[in-house]
Each structure stands twice: as C-alpha cells, then as structure tokens.
Amino acid sequence: MTSARFFRRTVATLTVALCLTCQLASGAEPPATPPAAPAAAAPASAATVPAAAPAGAGAVATPAPPAPAVSAGPDTSTRALDEQIQDLKQSVVDLNRDLFVLEEELLFPANTQVAVFLSMDVGEFFALDSVTLKIDNHEVSNYLYTPREVAALVKGGVQRLYVGNLKAGNHELVALFSGKGPNDRDYSRGASTKFEKGVGAKYLELRISDRVRSQQPEFEIKDWE
C-alpha cells in the first residue's frame, strides 16, 4: 500500500512537472520565433528597429516593411504557439494514460489481479444505494452510490468496483446490495460465489437486473472466463 502511494505521488509529480513545462512554454516563450513562421517574424522584428532608432538614420538604413506582412506576423506566431501548447497538452494526456497503465500493471500484476465490476439492467424494481464487497470474509469495498452514478449504470455503464491482488487458489466473494426495492421499501440482498484464482487475471461481474415475472430485482455474479 505504501509503494502504491509512493507510485501515485511520483506519477502526480511527473504530471505536474509536465504541466508546468507547458505553462512555461506558453508564458515565457512568446518572444521566441516559432519555427513554422520565420519569414513572418522577420519583418515584424525589423519593423521595431526604425521606431527605436533616430528618425533620419532609420529612414535611410531600413525601409519600412510592407503593411500586410506586419499584421500577419503576430497572428501566425500566436497560431504556431497555440499549436505547440496543444501538442504539449496532448503529450501530457498521453503520458498520463501511459503512467496509469503502468501503475495498473505494477500494482496489480495479471497473475494476482482480481477485478470486480458492477452493472445494472433496467433498475425498475431496485434503486441502488450501496454495495459492500467481501473477499474471503474480509471487507474490501463499501461503495455508496449517488443518483448520478445510478443513472449512469442504468444507462448501461459498467463500474469497476474493486481491483486488488489475490494469490492463486480458491476464494469466496460475497456482495451485499442495499437500496430501495419494490414499493419503495428498504431492500437488502446478498449474492456470493466461489471462484478459483488461476495464473491469469480474474474478472467478476455483479449484475443487477429486473425479474419481471416476480416483480423483484435479481442479483447475480458472473465469472468472466
């Protein structure tokens, strides 16, 4: 658990560092000439010289640049800078994704990984409030659902309720569901399954569905092979 926290902190630090780099790039580099528009930037810099120099000498040494080139310069450089910032932001997102995947692989290796998902079908006879998960009689998760989350599940969303590590062998999963049942009554039900953890990752799905015949919700646990 300590290593997990350390890893997460490292990941967060790296992300913040990259974000700061982005901000520095956007905040400190505007005067630099972007590589995409060297021609446009040159007249702009030349245009500033006569203004600072004495009027007579400047008029002789450097003729005034054409007006359209002066107005197009800043626009092009700003656009190039925006593109650079967008590229950096995209890099941050990609790096964050890669680090997330790496974190998952390191913290939950495939040979010990167990993941439990939750899905709801219809949800007419049951309004989900909370789910408590126990593996081998140890509580590993106790999740409270907000109305938004329930709505997302009813629309077809699948939630990863728990991910952890288990050694190979036989285990038991118990899920306790609580919420409002038919006629808006408090409703609690449990479901359990025994599963064998092998070499690969183990995926289990808690399914809540409506049983129309009995006008009751149904809770089952599916083992994804």
Binding site: D129, S130, L144, Y145, T146, E149
Partner: protein
Amino acid sequence: MIRRIGPLCVGAVLFTLFQPTLAATAIGDLAPDFTLPAASGGNVRLSEHRGDVVLLTFWSSHCAVCLAQLEALSQLQTTYRSAGLVTLAVSVDDDMKSATQFAKSHPERFPVLFDRLKEVGRAYGIEAIPTTVLIDRRGHVRYVQSDYHGTDNSYVARVRALLDDPL
C-alpha cells in the same frame, strides 16, 4: 519528585507518539473527496459539485452554536444558490436519530449528511465544531473557520469572492 513526574512524562510522550494523527487539510490543498448518506435519502459525493463553490460545515445537534450557524447558512444558501453556491452540512453526531430528527424538524435548504464513522471529519482535520470549510470551483480548500459568532460573517465575503471567481 522524579518518581512522580517520570511516569507522567513517559505517559505524555507515549500519548504524543500514539495519538491518531489528523491529516489536517491546508489552504490550497485539493479538498478530500467523500460520499456520505443524506438525511433526505440517497448519497452525496463532493466531487460531483466540482464547478460550484461548496460550503462545508461540520456540526452536531448538541451544539447550540452550530444550530445558529445553520440558520444563517440557510439564508446564505437561499441568496447565492443561483450563483453556484452549494452548502453541505455534515453531522458528526454519534447518534443518527437525533441528527435525523433535527434535519426533519429544520427543513434547511441544503443536504444534511451523516459522518457516523467520522472519516470525513478526520480527513479534514476537524478539531472543533462548528467548522466551516470553503471549497472553490476547482475543488481546492480556500478557507477554514473553526468557530462561529453571530456577528462574524467574514466567510460571506469570501463566498462572494469565490463566486465571482470563474472556473
């Protein structure tokens, strides 16, 4: 003398070493997320209010000052609701019944939440009630006030400032 003071000193050191450490949330920190059951039913998650200014107040039904503050907060919530203020009143009562009765008898215009296990209170390092925590639209703690006086409405100005601050 030393024989008398010695055990006391050892006891004090042991108490200091083994007392539960409070992870007090500092100003500018990301507010610890939580999900708590509400008196009106359902659950409330703090992170779902990202984009709003959240005024979090920790209270108890046995605290007269807290009740006076809740009345004031109710008015504040009514005034600034449309501007994006969300008030969450977290009850730290051991007995949920008294808090539930209070919530029913005082239909405040904000959710009353139950922190029965005191996990949220610990996460925010609450040492006294009432404690008010102001969270900005980005989810960062911007102000913590661990007392309430009827005349002291300093957090109202801070609420206004945070509401004026766009996301």
